[in-house]
Symmetry: C2
DNA sequence: CCGTATCCCATCAGATACTG
DNA sequence: CAGTATCTGATGGGATACGG
């Protein structure tokens, strides 16, 4: 995001964490990246993969990912238009993160059925 | 978040990724969790670790993390008040994610100085 | 097919001030 | 110390319609 929720770098040192998450923060970014792991996809293919994302949002997220250097965009000058999105080397370098996310999600979804299950509060 | 930016589960199967990131999405959550990795912290200790977060936001983020079962909150009935936040087992299970985030951020911050350096667009 | 433009409202998140 | 209350501007994000 040009203006993510994260202030990106006004955090104290050690917030490489914040820098990293700042890039995949955004409603659909992580899922987009995840779906791009297997390979190049076209605009509407991504939309189909990421259920419930409007074209407007899709464009926005893709643009931000592009500006951040995580994906590259290739336009074919033809009719009908064809645009392909591919993980850049930088984007691909996030694979471990994406995989960690997926691993965690899988483990939890399968173990608990769904998150937000644990009651952390002792009734006092 | 009760109402995170992520719709949490209206995504197609395979979006364990989304579920996972939904939990650490939120302006300061990942950094809070990260700082809790070494051990228990008190409210203001976290605030100090997470530069620039207002008490209001801090409370909000902590509550959400608590509701999501990632941290636990222990209140000491004394004056002055003392409240400790600790990673729950579930929260600690996110350590690989947090570490992946940090690793990536470190690699990029040190390599490029700062992100958003790559120009993915071929001038056509 | 791949977007962009506009309208519109819900939510976010900072500042500030106050309390048990 | 550890929050809560309120106000306010900013942003997000959905719906819809249109354009190359």
């Amino acid at each position: 995001m040009n203006k993510p929720r994260h202030s990106r770098f006004d955090c104290a040192p050690g917030c490489a964490v914040e820098a990293a998450i700042g890039l995949i923060d955004g409603k659909w970014k992580s899922i987009i990246l995840f779906h791009l792991l297997p390979g190049t996809l076209r605009f509407n293919e991504i939309r189909r993969a990421v259920t419930g994302c409007s074209p407007r949002m899709m464009t926005k997220q893709l643009r931000e990912l592009e500006v951040d250097g995580l994906i590259s965009r290739k336009v074919y000058a033809q009719v009908p238009p064809k645009v392909e999105y591919t993980l850049s080397p930088l984007g691909r370098s996030m694979e471990p993160i994406l995989l960690a996310l997926k691993t965690w999600g899988d483990a939890n979804l399968s173990r608990y059925g769904k998150p937000r299950v644990v009651d952390p509060r002792v009734p006092d």
